[in-house]
């Protein structure tokens, strides 16, 4: 079910009314759980069944860890195998199925069956990380497993978050699920600007800038100049798209009395790669930091390998970002994108520039920002490229400009990036200097008008739905 469909609006209104009418937590949670499963299984009910089965399994495995701590490793191994197995199966099957079919055909059998495309269930990558985080925390003794299946199932499937996060930690969401909730008007007054901005970023900015970025990245051999402009367009598109989704998600959660995590904190103002990952997809970065980066770092420090310090410093970020790349998708460009950030983080750290580095001179600040922003745009070019071969061909074989037409189209793309980013700059200024004033209200009123104007028959999926 899409956030921008009439069926979702009806679903939201009904769930909202029923949820606050019953008042008691004992009823609110089952209602929200049923609504979340309805939302998730709306198009393909079998996905909800799969979600339910995997949720039950982790619930009982976590209880097993509590009941029998000596078997913690066994239960964790089971959970990791099943969760990562399902995720890898769905995510990477399509990557290997052509080879698999060829192999079966070479054995003289009909390999057509293996050519069936398997669609990645929406949200699988997100709720898998949620469940794994819960299991790891329980196994480490950092979290007591909940005894209420409904509460745990709601934590995993909470509908505002199930499709594309935020990847909420159990320590933050579970206590809210377990607490009594009573309606406050503040929920609505906190939620509406988030929901409005979410729709605005998605419908007005992301879906419009997507047109030029898609067109450039669909070309077989664009010039380098067009590639740069396409990458700039995608840089804006992915921010508006994903942060728009997160705003909506947080707004809808707030309507039901939940405070959920922010996922973005002005990521394109970062001065270093570490700073960028502290501001971009924050809940994923935190997850990777706590469950992959720190354990690798600790293991390296404790190991008897006696690695030189630069390796001890470099391996954790490169390995973590490699996994982050794999998590984002089955394709060498995603892997390369992850490793690229891992190497960037390592290099910055090796030259002594840490995540919280702030140069004193404004010129140095400006230069640091420009360098980092260029790295970000290059990263998105890798991420969006149809393949690494395509990107390599452009960088090594294509001219900077094919013709005058390239220059004109590139400038159109650039003017679109500027035009569609202006509202974000204005919002930034309003948040800083005129929060809750008439100007901010006027901004929201204009945003609503623009949403109506740009409301389309089609509402392309959020980019992060596919991960």
């Amino acid at each position: 079910m899409s956030f921008a469909s009439l069926s979702f609006i009806i679903f939201l209104v009904c769930t909202f009314a029923l949820y606050w009418l019953v008042k008691k937590r004992e009823w609110q949670n089952p209602i929200l759980l049923a609504a979340s499963y309805l939302f998730y299984g709306w198009v393909t009910p079998s996905l909800a069944v799969m979600l339910g089965a995997s949720t039950m399994l982790d619930f009982f495995l976590a209880r097993g860890i509590q009941a029998s701590p000596v078997r913690t490793r066994l239960f964790m191994a089971l959970s990791l195998t099943l969760n990562l197995g399902v995720l890898a199966g769905f995510k990477y099957y399509n990557f290997f199925n052509d080879e698999l079919a060829n192999f079966v055909t070479s054995l003289g059998m009909n390999g057509d069956f293996f050519l069936t495309r398997v669609l990645l269930p929406a949200g699988l990558s997100f709720y898998t990380l949620k469940k794994l985080g819960y299991m790891i925390d329980v196994s480490r003794g950092m979290l007591k497993p909940t005894h209420a299946l409904v509460d745990f199932a709601l934590y995993v499937s909470f509908f505002p978050q199930i499709i594309a996060g935020p990847i909420e930690r159990p320590q933050k969401l579970l206590p809210q699920i377990e607490a009594q909730r009573a309606w406050k008007a503040d929920f609505f007054y906190g939620a509406w600007p988030l929901i409005l901005m979410g729709f605005f970023k998605k419908i007005v900015i992301a879906d419009n800038i997507k047109i030029i970025s898609d067109q450039i990245f669909s070309l077989d051999e664009p010039s380098i100049f067009l590639l740069i402009m396409g990458a700039l367009a995608f840089t804006l598109q992915i921010l508006a798209d994903f942060s728009g989704y997160t705003d909506m998600s947080r707004g809808f959660a707030m309507l039901f009395g939940f405070q959920t995590s922010e996922n973005f904190n002005l990521p394109y103002t970062s001065l270093t790669p570490t700073d960028f990952w502290n501001r971009w997809h924050i809940t994923l970065s935190n997850w990777l930091r706590d469950y992959i980066f720190f354990p690798i770092g600790r293991a390296l420090k404790r190991s008897r390998l006696n690695l030189p310090p630069w390796q001890v410093l470099s391996i954790p970020p490169i390995a973590t970002m490699f996994i982050s790349g794999l998590w984002h998708g089955a394709g060498w460009n995603f892997v390369m994108w992850g490793v690229y950030y891992g190497v960037l983080i390592s290099v910055y750290q090796l030259v002594g520039i840490r995540g919280d580095w702030k140069p004193k001179s404004p010129w140095a600040h400006g230069l640091a920002w420009f360098v980092m922003f260029t790295f970000i745009v290059i990263g998105w070019a890798m991420f969006r490229a149809p393949s690494l071969a395509w990107l390599g061909n452009i960088l090594f074989n294509e001219p900077f400009l094919h013709s005058q037409s390239d220059l004109i189209v590139g400038l159109i793309a650039f003017s679109m990036v500027i035009a569609y980013s202006i509202p974000l700059w204005i919002k930034l200024g309003l948040d800083k200097y005129a929060k809750d004033g008439w100007l901010t209200s006027a901004y929201y009123a204009f945003a609503t008008v623009l949403i109506i104007v740009f409301l389309n028959a089609t509402f392309p999926d959020f980019i992060y739905n596919q991960f």
């Binding site: 809750d436 209200s441 008008v449």
Partner: protein
């Protein structure tokens, strides 16, 4: 709370201004009919072709037909004069309009109209009717296309959308407003460099329209669009047939004594095997019975093993050697069913 009420006041003011300004600005009267508004002129392209070429057989279809059937070879093999009325990206709404506003009103009527389609296209009236496809439809639509409006547009809109299109200027004129914004962004910077509108449009054409697309991206675009034809609601034949253009197409050909043959072309099985293949099978069985009841000849090559995967250049389109083969296969099938002179 105060900021929310301030927002409501300002929004009401903006909506009121739009209510007053938009009708005059775009010359629109309210309430207006929901859905697209077609102009009165109808292109007579195919009428001219019909009267000039006097074909016995007219082929209707999209790019898969263009790259799948060779009209000259088919003419040679069937001994009939064949004209191909293909339009890239066309679908049932377009074929209905060509039949209604060109073929049946031409002085020369072909003996047979052959529609070449894929899977559920004949009962998907809302397929390919927006964006550039809307412009194509407008070329062949009059300003009174009640059936087209209802089946291709209104039936797919919910009540709220229809009300908004009829009564709310801001919503109803959103295409015009969007065009204004787009024009402003698109032409402003090139104009500073001395590149006028024509120069800008030419540049866009040179870079995008005439350039090659990256094969993977092209495939992905095709798949995304085609997936609509395989959604559970589209695979329910009985639910869709009365809402589709198929009954009108059958009636128009019957009233004008034109034999209608529908030909199902095979998509590349290798790339489009679907988990819901049984549903496609059931759909084709139902379609087949319906066409038989209405006296329409149905030639189904949807699973023809002779059209091997290596004859396709992507998931839909045949290579030249595949085109020759399929034309021969089609001629074989037609020879037994074509209406006698």
């Amino acid at each position: 709370m105060r900021s929310f009420f301030r927002y409501l006041i300002l929004l009401s003011a903006l909506v009121t201004i739009s209510w007053a300004a938009i009708p005059g600005w775009f010359n629109i009267r309210f309430p207006r009919q929901a859905g697209p508004h077609f102009n009165r002129e109808v292109r007579r392209k195919y009428i001219t072709t019909l009267n000039k070429e006097q074909p016995d057989i007219v082929l209707l279809g999209d790019s898969t037909m263009m790259e799948g059937v060779d009209p000259e070879l088919l003419s040679e093999l069937t001994g009939r004069q064949v004209s191909s009325f293909h339009s890239l990206g066309s679908a049932s709404a377009f074929w209905y309009l060509i039949l209604k506003n060109n073929i049946v009103i031409a002085d020369h009527h072909p003996q047979t109209v052959i529609i070449v389609f894929r899977d559920t296209m004949l009962t998907a009236p809302g397929f390919r009717v927006y964006g550039g496809f809307l412009d194509n439809l407008d070329e062949f639509a009059t300003d009174h296309e009640t059936v087209l409006l209802e089946k291709a547009y209104l039936n797919h809109m919910n009540w709220a959308e229809i009300q908004a299109e009829e009564h709310i200027p801001l919503y109803s004129a959103r295409e015009n407003l969007r065009e204004k914004v787009d024009t402003w962004i698109r032409y402003l910077v090139p104009a500073w460099l001395g590149c006028d509108r024509q120069c800008t449009d030419d540049a866009m054409f040179n870079v995008f329209t005439s350039a090659e697309l990256e094969p993977g991206q092209l495939q992905s675009r095709i798949t995304t669009v085609e997936e609509y034809l395989y959604t559970p609601s589209q695979l329910d034949f009985h639910q869709n047939v009365d809402q589709s253009f198929l009954p009108e197409i059958i009636q128009l050909t019957r009233e004008n004594n034109i034999q209608l043959i529908v030909v199902r072309l095979k998509p590349n099985t290798i790339r489009t095997i679907r988990l819901d293949a049984p549903a496609v099978g059931q759909y084709i069985t139902d379609l087949s019975s319906y066409l038989a009841e209405n006296g329409v000849v149905f030639l189904d090559y949807g699973r023809d093993p002779r059209l091997r995967s290596d004859y396709f250049r992507d998931s839909l389109h045949l290579k030249p050697e595949g085109k020759t083969l399929f034309t021969q296969i089609l001629a074989e099938g037609l020879n037994g069913v074509l209406k006698k002179d």
